[in-house]
């Protein structure tokens, strides 16, 4: 009788989640945004997603081969990194830059620390930060969706064989500097919901991302505390600025639907490896990400700050965990 009872130390996992199932869910949740990307950016989307996923998987396989470690491709984390990196680069990025970014993301962002679970930064964001630092021009050239009307004022340089245009966030930056009216930007709310705007490959369509996010929340793959904290704090900061000066600062809901805000809040900040463990810690982490995003968007030099905010808060995560220690069941030991 007793031999049928397994005795083991905690934590006792009661949910049917495995690394593979979590990563699989994330991939499923990213499919709507993938469709949106393919509709708006056609062949470029295919190429970028394919190149990023392929390079990420190949890099991980190579690292395991060099270290003579068992193959870890089964956990699908390299595929997720590849898709998220592809989603967060401009559609016009050349394939070779995508290869460099993906290899950097997996090798330096993850495998150097010992593989999945040991990385201290989100690998996709490490890759993107490296690309931004290395190829600033390529990372800020925005191709507009095939379906977009081009009557909006142009700010970015044209060229590269496709129509390029500034993103709503770049316009918002210009509005702060009093070069464009905020109404120009505010008129784009509908467009930013379905994704008819310039921007990174996978972040343009808010609705597609929200469908995926809803799936993750319903399946309890992600913890809803972090997205709520990110979006909530960003909304509060944006609303305060908008109330103070509606002519300079775009409405707060636009800040939520444009740029990498949604993909960052639901898919990147919730990376289980690099987020805090306790609920209090998650709220601190999320609030920090949201506030930093708005700080960078409003006062910084860059129009978008999701990547930097998440990387900085990833670095703070060990300290947050330290100050928000979980109390073990049964109370504080040796108190």
């Amino acid at each position: 009788m007793l031999s049928k009872i397994t005795v083991s130390p905690g934590p006792h996992i009661s949910e049917p989640h495995s690394t593979r199932s979590i990563m699989g869910d994330v991939i499923i949740a990213l499919v709507p945004a993938m469709f949106a990307a393919i509709i708006y950016f056609r062949i470029r989307a295919f190429v970028l997603i394919g190149v990023c996923v392929g390079t990420c998987v190949a890099s991980e396989w190579l690292c395991n081969l060099i270290r003579k470690k068992p193959n870890s491709l089964d956990d699908l984390s390299a595929v997720v990194t590849g898709i998220i990196l592809a989603f967060s680069v401009p559609p016009a990025l050349p394939w070779w830059a995508a290869v460099i970014g993906s290899a950097f993301a997996v090798i330096i962002g993850k495998m150097v620390f010992g593989g999945l679970g040991a990385n201290i930064f989100n690998p996709a964001m490490v890759g993107r930060a490296f690309l931004t630092a290395s190829f600033g021009m390529l990372m800020t050239t925005w191709t507009v969706p095939v379906t977009l009307d081009t009557t909006m004022p142009e700010i970015a340089a044209t060229g590269r064989g496709a129509i390029t245009q500034a993103t709503p966030l770049a316009w918002s930056k210009q509005a702060i500097k009093k070069k464009v009216d905020t109404k120009v930007v505010a008129a784009q709310l509908d467009a930013s919901l379905i994704g008819q705007i310039g921007g990174c490959l996978g972040e343009t369509s808010s609705i597609a991302l929200l469908i995926g996010a809803l799936y993750l929340v319903l399946k309890r793959t992600i913890n809803v505390n972090i997205p709520l904290a990110v979006l909530g704090s960003a909304f509060v900061v944006a609303a305060m600025c908008h109330l103070i000066n509606p002519n300079a600062y775009i409405p707060p809901w636009l800040h939520l639907t444009t740029g990498g805000m949604l993909i960052g809040a639901f898919f990147i900040a919730t990376d289980p490896v690099t987020m805090p463990l306790s609920t209090r810690g998650m709220w601190l982490f999320g609030t920090g990400v949201g506030a930093l995003i708005m700080l960078i968007r409003i006062v910084g030099e860059y129009p978008e700050g999701v990547m930097y905010a998440i990387l900085i808060m990833n670095a703070v995560t060990p300290l947050i965990d330290r100050f928000c220690k979980l109390t073990p069941a049964g109370g504080v030991p040796n108190a």
């Binding site: 010992g114 040991a118 060990p318």
Partner: protein, 196 residues
């Protein structure tokens, strides 16, 4: 430069122009002493205090002594001597009045003498032509920024103690890689406030 307020310079020295993550000064003690959060906090506090004080003293010496006497070319030697003397003084003071703190800081106090961030701050102050208030703001901000970076790094390194890092990357190399990613992350603060 005189119109930039000391507060702006203080914030810039912490975030946009972090002396460790943008100028890469003070790397040696940063790498050597970032293993534990406790020691990182101790060293960070000590560096902040010494940085603020030596920037003030060096400001006074530079503008009241070296410039009138035409001995500006001696600034390197004078600054180093001031820093060494000041650290020695702090060490004696702490040992006399708070032996507990003295033993807690232990080897870190003398180590501060050779921390290039401290000499760097004094030299930046001269190069950028700060007035006294700006110099104090810059010295204090540079210290806080350095402390922030080393405390973040200590947290990350304690977390990495549990991971299976490949043999060639253990210790210093992985610390350098993390510093590189941290520096890229701090690029996000660019342009918020600027000092030369």
């Amino acid at each position: 430069m005189t119109e930039t307020s000391a507060i702006v310079i203080l914030i810039a020295a912490i975030l946009t122009n972090n002396i460790l993550l943008t100028n890469f000064l003070g790397m040696c003690s940063f790498v050597a002493c970032s293993g534990q959060i406790r020691t990182a906090v101790g060293l960070g506090t000590a560096v902040t205090f010494v940085l603020t004080m030596t920037t003030m003293i060096n400001y006074a010496i530079y503008h009241l002594l070296l410039v009138p006497a035409g001995l500006v070319h001696l600034q390197f030697i004078v600054f180093i001597a001031v820093i060494a003397a000041f650290v020695q003084f702090v060490e004696m003071f702490v040992e006399r009045f708070s032996p507990k703190l003295y033993f807690a800081l232990g080897i870190f106090l003398p180590l501060i003498t050779v921390n290039c961030a401290i000499l760097g701050a004094s030299l930046f102050m001269v190069i950028r032509g700060y007035n006294f208030a700006q110099a104090v703001g810059f010295g204090f901000g540079a210290g806080v920024g350095w402390a922030l970076a080393i405390i973040l790094m200590a947290g990350l390194r304690q977390k990495m103690n549990y991971s299976d890092i490949p043999e060639p990357f253990r210790g210093v190399p992985v610390t350098m890689i993390v510093t590189c990613v941290l520096a890229m992350a701090f690029m996000g603060f660019a342009g918020m406030v600027s000092i030369q």
